[in-house]
C-alpha cells in the first residue's frame, strides 16, 4: 500500500499541532505502508516563505517531497479578506480569494497531485482550511482522506468547505465534538468517518526527581505545557492563579513550559522554565500534581493526552468543548469556567489525594484504550481496508461557475458558526446519536 501525507509544513523542528500530528501519523503508518510526504518549502506559517529546498528528501526515514510556495502571505490582504468573509455578506469568489490569501499557495503541489494521485492508494490531507487541502483534495478526490483538525473558529462557517467535506473518501476526526461540528456544517454524515486522534510516545520511566533537581523546583506544582499565549488562555490562567495564590490553603506552584509570548507575572510561586526538551517535559509532567490546560480552542490536546498517559489529572478550560468533552468521557480531569470553579477544582485535586489518584488512573486507562499508537494505527488501517472494499468514489460537486462565484449571497461565516452545535459530546447529550453535542446554543466564538 502506498500512501501520501499532504500537509502545509513538515519537518523535525516544526511543532505546530497539525504538522506534528501529520509527522507522527506518517512515521507510524510507515511501519505498515509505503508513505511519502507531500508538502511545501515553507517553515513559517505566518509568511509561508520558501526556506527549504524543493525536491525529495527524508525526515526520520520518511521520504518528503517539497514544492515551492508561489507567493508569501500578505498579512494586510489576508486580514482584510478575513474580515470580509467572516463578518459580512459575501460571495464564493471572496472565499476563494481568502483561501488564496491564507496560503500556502502552491499550485505546483496541486498540479503534482492532479497528475500523480493515481500512484497512491490514498492521500491523507491534513488541515482542511489551507490551500493545499482544498485544491489538493479536489485534484485527487478519488483517493482523498481528510484529517480536518478543525477548531471552533469562523473558517468552518465558510461555504467553500462543505463540498470538500462531502467529496472526500473518508474523514479522520480528532474528537466527537469536531465530528459533530463538521456534520452540522456540511451534512457529510454519509462520508465514512472515525474519531481517531493521535497517540504520543510517552517515556515509560520519567524521572520526576531529575527535573526538580535541575530546575530547583520544590513542593507540589501544577504544570502548563505549550505556547504561553493569550490565544491559549494563559492570560486568564495567570489571573486565576494569582487569585489562587491569595488562598493560604493552596500550596501549589505554577510551572510553565513553553515559549513566552505573554508577560509572565512575577511571583515566587510562578516559575517559567522556557522551552525544554521532551525529556524534561515528561519529567516535569510526571513530577507535577496536575496539568493545567487553559486553552479555549483545541481540536485535540496532545499535552492533555500525554498527562493522562503519565497518570496525571488535568484541569481544563470548560469553555473549550473538546477539552471538556475529553474530561467527561475519560473521567480523568476537571474543568472550570470561572475563577470560583478554578479555585475549587484546583483545591479539590490538590487536597484530595484519592480524587487525584483516581483521575490519573482513569486518564492512563483512557489513553491506553483510545490513544495508544497501536489503537491509532489500527483505526487508520481499518479505514483503508474499508475504503478498498467500498465501491467507486462519488462524483465531485462541480466547481462554482462565473456567476456563482460573484453572487453576494453568502452569510458571514461567524453567523454560520454561531448556529452550529456547541458543547461537549457526551453519551447522554443526544438520544439518537451518541457522542454528539447539543445544538442551537449559538455560542459561536472566533479565535482572537
Amino acid at each position: 500500500m502506498k500512501l501520501a501525507v499532504v500537509v502545509q509544513r513538515y519537518g523535525q523542528a516544526i511543532n505546530g499541532g497539525a504538522e506534528l500530528h501529520a509527522r507522527y501519523i506518517a512515521e507510524h503508518l510507515a511501519k505498515h505502508a509505503q508513505v511519502e510526504v507531500l508538502t511545501t518549502c515553507a517553515t513559517d506559517y505566518v509568511t509561508w516563505r520558501n526556506e527549504l529546498e524543493p525536491g525529495v528528501g527524508a525526515v526520520n526515514g520518511v521520504p518528503v517531497r517539497r514544492f515551492k510556495v508561489k507567493r508569501e502571505r500578505d498579512p494586510r490582504v489576508f486580514g482584510r479578506r478575513s474580515d470580509r468573509v467572516f463578518e459580512h455578506l459575501h460571495s464564493l469568489g471572496d472565499e476563494l480569494d481568502w483561501l488564496e490569501a491564507e496560503g500556502p499557495t502552491s499550485p505546483a503541489l496541486v498540479d503534482y497531485l492532479g497528475k500523480h494521485a493515481g500512484d497512491y492508494d490514498f492521500c491523507l490531507f491534513f488541515s482542511y482550511r489551507y490551500y493545499h487541502a482544498y485544491h489538493g483534495a479536489r485534484a485527487g478526490a478519488s483517493r482523498a482522506i481528510l484529517v480536518p483538525t478543525a477548531e471552533r473558529d469562523a473558517a468552518i462557517g465558510l461555504s467553500i468547505f462543505p463540498p470538500l467535506f462531502r467529496s472526500v473518501r473518508a474523514v479522520m476526526y480528532n474528537s466527537p465534538e469536531e465530528r459533530a461540528m463538521i456534520h452540522a456544517a456540511s451534512g457529510n454524515q454519509d462520508v465514512p468517518g472515525v474519531v481517531v486522534g493521535i497517540g504520543s510516545d510517552v517515556p515509560h520511566n520519567p524521572q520526576p526527581g531529575r527535573v526538580r533537581q535541575k530546575y530547583n523546583i520544590r513542593g507540589p506544582f501544577a504544570v502548563y505545557v505549550g505556547r504561553i499565549d493569550q490565544n491559549k488562555g494563559c492570560q486568564e490562567l495567570f489571573e486565576f492563579f494569582k487569585g489562587y495564590l491569595r488562598d493560604p490553603a493552596g500550596k501549589l506552584t505554577l510551572v510553565l513550559i513553553g515559549k513566552e509570548l505573554l508577560p509572565i507575572p512575577e511571583h515566587p510561586r510562578i516559575r517559567h522554565l522556557g522551552f525544554v526538551d521532551d525529556t524534561d517535559k515528561f519529567d516535569a509532567m510526571a513530577a507535577a500534581e496536575l496539568l493545567l490546560m487553559p486553552s479555549y480552542y483545541e481540536s485535540l490536546s496532545m499535552v492533555a493526552l500525554e498527562a493522562w498517559a503519565l497518570g496525571k489529572p488535568v484541569l481544563a478550560n470548560g469553555k473549550c468543548d473538546v477539552l471538556k468533552g475529553q474530561c467527561i468521557r475519560s473521567n480523568a480531569g476537571l474543568y472550570y469556567e470561572s475563577y470560583a470553579e478554578f479555585s475549587e477544582t484546583l483545591g479539590a485535586i490538590e487536597q484530595n489525594r484519592w480524587l487525584s489518584g483516581t483521575l490519573g488512573r482513569n486518564g492512563r486507562q483512557f489513553f491506553r484504550e483510545q490513544y495508544d499508537w497501536p489503537v491509532i494505527e489500527r483505526k487508520y488501517l481499518d479505514m483503508f481496508e474499508r475504503l478498498k472494499k467500498e465501491g467507486p468514489p462519488k462524483v465531485l460537486d462541480p466547481a462554482p461557475g462565473w456567476f456563482d462565484r460573484r453572487r453576494q449571497d453568502l452569510p458571514a461565516a461567524e453567523d454560520v458558526l454561531a448556529k452550529l452545535p456547541a458543547g461537549p459530546a457526551t453519551p447522554k447529550s443526544t438520544g439518537s446519536e451518541p457522542n454528539a453535542p447539543s445544538t442551537g446554543s449559538g455560542q459561536g466564538r472566533r479565535r482572537a
Partner: protein, 355 residues
C-alpha cells in the same frame, strides 16, 4: 478544604463538578449570573431615574438627549462668480451679461465676489466644525451614560458581595459565640472535677459537721461555692437516708427548663416588681404543687437579681455539654436546693443556674 462525597471506586467527573458548583453556590449564598446582575443593575438604574426615589435626574436628562443627533440643515453659503448676476428670468440674465463689461468700468466686482466667496467657505467650515463638535459632545454624553451605567453595575455587584460578606460574618460570629459557650461550659466542667477532688468524706472520728449556713445573697460566688452543685449532684447518703428530696426525674427537669425559659421571656421581671410570678404570654403556666417548684421559683427570682443573662447561658451550656442529656444518670437537682427551699432561704449561691 474541598470535600466530596464520591462513594464509589470510580469517579464521575460531571457529578464532581455538580458538587463543586453546589459548594460554590453555598459559599456565595446566592449564585448570580452576569445577566441577573445586569437585571438588578437595571432595576436600580430605573430607581435612580426616579426623582422621588433618588435625588438626581441626571440619567433622565441623558435619556432625553438620547435621540440620534441629526445635524441641522445648513443654508446655502455658496457664492460663485456668477451668483451676482443669476436670475430665473432669461432676458434679464442676458441683459446683465451684456452690460457686465460696462459695470466693470465703474468698479471691480471680482473683489467683491472673491470676498463673499471666501466668507461663504468660512461659514461652511464653521458650520461643519460646529456640527462635528456637537456630535462629539453627544458621543461623550453617551460614553458618560455608559460609564454611569457600568458604575451602577459594579455598585450592584459590590452590594451583592457585601451582602455575602455580611452573611459570612454572621456565620463566623455565630460560630464564635458557640465556641465561647462551649469553652465556658467546658471550664465549668473542669471546675466541677476539681471540686470533686476537694470533697473529703468526713472521718468517723471527727465531730459531725455543723448545720449548713445560709449563704448571704449578695456575696459573690467563690470557687468552693461553685463546686457545691457538683457535690449536690451526687446525693449524699444523709439525704437519701433522711428521706430528703429525691433527685428529680426527666419530666421535672424539662419543666424546670421550660420555667426558666419563661422567666427569661419576662416572668422574672414580674417577679421583681410584684413579688409574684405573673403568667406571661408565651410563658409556661404556673407549676404544680411541690417543694421543688417553689424553690425553683425563688431560685429563679434570685437568679434574676444576680444577672439573669449570665445564669441562663451558663446553665444552658452546662446542660448542653455536661448536663443530663449527656449524662442521663447524673441528677441535676441537689438535696441542698430542696433543703434551702424548705427553709425558706434563697439558694442563690448554690443554684446550678449560677454556674
Amino acid at each position: 478544604m474541598p470535600d466530596f462525597n464520591v462513594r464509589s471506586d470510580s469517579v464521575n467527573v460531571e457529578q464532581i463538578m455538580e458538587q463543586i458548583r453546589a459548594r460554590i453556590r453555598e459559599k456565595r449564598g446566592v449564585d448570580y449570573t452576569e445577566q441577573q446582575i445586569r437585571d438588578l443593575a437595571a432595576v436600580k438604574l430605573e430607581k435612580f431615574l426616579d426623582p422621588n426615589g433618588v435625588r438626581s435626574d441626571l440619567l433622565e436628562q441623558f435619556r432625553r438627549v438620547q435621540p440620534a443627533y441629526e445635524p441641522p440643515e445648513l443654508p446655502n453659503y455658496e457664492f460663485e462668480g456668477s451668483t451676482l448676476y443669476e436670475t430665473h428670468r432669461g432676458p434679464l440674465r442676458f441683459i446683465r451679461k451684456l452690460l457686465n463689461p460696462l459695470l466693470k468700468l465703474f468698479f471691480n466686482p471680482n473683489k467683491l465676489i472673491q470676498a463673499l466667496h471666501i466668507q461663504a467657505k468660512l461659514n461652511m467650515m464653521f458650520a461643519e466644525r460646529e456640527a462635528r463638535r456637537e456630535a462629539a459632545r453627544r458621543a461623550t454624553d453617551q460614553l458618560t451614560y455608559e460609564l454611569i451605567h457600568n458604575l451602577v453595575v459594579e455598585t450592584t455587584r459590590l452590594g451583592i458581595e457585601v451582602k455575602n460578606l455580611k452573611m459570612r460574618v454572621e456565620s463566623v460570629g455565630s460560630r464564635l459565640e458557640f465556641n465561647e459557650r462551649r469553652a465556658r461550659a467546658l471550664e465549668s466542667v473542669v471546675v466541677y472535677k476539681s471540686g470533686e477532688g476537694d470533697v473529703v468524706p468526713p472521718a468517723p472520728s471527727r465531730p459531725p459537721a455543723p448545720p449548713p449556713v445560709a449563704p448571704r445573697p449578695q456575696q459573690p460566688p467563690s470557687p468552693v461555692q461553685t463546686s457545691q452543685p457538683s457535690r449536690a449532684s451526687q446525693p449524699s447518703p444523709a439525704a437519701i437516708a433522711g428521706g430528703g428530696p429525691s433527685p428529680e426525674g426527666p419530666g421535672q427537669r424539662s419543666r424546670r427548663r421550660r420555667r426558666r425559659r419563661g422567666r427569661r421571656g419576662g416572668g422574672s421581671a414580674a417577679g421583681i416588681i410584684g413579688g409574684q410570678a405573673v403568667p406571661q404570654p408565651g410563658a409556661p403556666e404556673a407549676s404544680g404543687p411541690g417543694g421543688h417548684d417553689a424553690a425553683d421559683e425563688r431560685a429563679g427570682t434570685d437568679a434574676v437579681h444576680e444577672g439573669p443573662e449570665t445564669n441562663a447561658v451558663v446553665t444552658e451550656d452546662l446542660e448542653q455539654f455536661s448536663g443530663p442529656d449527656v449524662h442521663p444518670a447524673e441528677p441535676v437537682s441537689r438535696p441542698a436546693d430542696a433543703e434551702n427551699a424548705d427553709a425558706g432561704q434563697s439558694p442563690a449561691k448554690t443554684d446550678p443556674d449560677t454556674q
